[in-house]
Assembly symmetry: C2
Homo-oligomer: 146 residues x 2
């Protein structure tokens, strides 16, 4: 009951509020990006507003594709108190580049696959140009312009 008076919650409630699974929250604690929260006498975790905020931060960063390590270093800036906007911007721009590379890779794949698919009749025939193409080796994919 005192739990509600001080606006604290259990791990289950935190999980529901943030959409992060209980196991994942414990995992984040284990790897050190969520703090060890206080416990009840019985040993159950007690969370407060600041935990919710931090978990939301982590969760949203993950949704935007930041790796745990990137999040760790963002959090280090936050926790260190000596955040500068410039550092955060650097990391963000670096991350954007990574994403752009991934997009380019996937688009290249898609182009190749589309081309393969377009050559395929889709009939009941056993000769398949897709399988042919896949067996032909690497030179074909190397030639695709980026």
């Amino acid at each position: 009951m005192n739990r509600l008076l001080f606006r604290t919650t259990t791990i289950g409630a935190l999980s529901k509020r943030t959409g992060v699974k209980i196991e994942t929250i414990r995992y984040y604690e284990h790897i050190g990006i969520m703090p060890n929260p206080p416990r009840t006498e019985g040993g159950q975790r007690i969370y407060s507003e600041s935990h919710t905020k931090r978990l939301t931060f982590i969760c949203r960063s993950r949704e935007l594709g930041f790796s745990i390590d990137e999040i760790r270093s963002l959090l280090k800036l936050v926790d260190g108190g000596e955040i500068t906007c410039g550092e955060v911007l650097d990391k963000t721009l670096g991350h954007i580049e990574d994403i752009q590379k991934k997009i380019a890779d996937l688009q290249r794949m898609e182009r190749v696959l589309q081309e393969m698919a377009s050559k395929c009749s889709g009939n009941d025939v056993p000769e398949c140009p897709i399988l042919e193409a896949l067996s032909l080796g690497v030179q074909a994919i190397g030639d695709i312009p980026t």
Copy 2:
């Protein structure tokens, strides 16, 4: 010496020819997508042309983003002898859809990140709109149009 007479190779040579690391070739054997090759008296693996072709197939499929499981089922079609072009096309089109989804996800991420970055001065200030945005929670990302 008889190795060369029958156009067979060691795992190292196969690795060099295909660009697939030795450990990875053994791994593919372990998980059953490469066959157990014959061995020398001393127990070293002996590969022939058909192995090279199969490994190339796997390698190229991986480069195009097929998962091991997808490759496994493509290979099942190949090995079963009862391949039809249609089945292969189905799997390929399914895979293309997956890739398109991934691209869309990444583009959504990029848009959000770009917008966050554009609001950031990059100065030595401790107030950072990026960190703000990351703490704000999920509703902000939920509102982004796909």
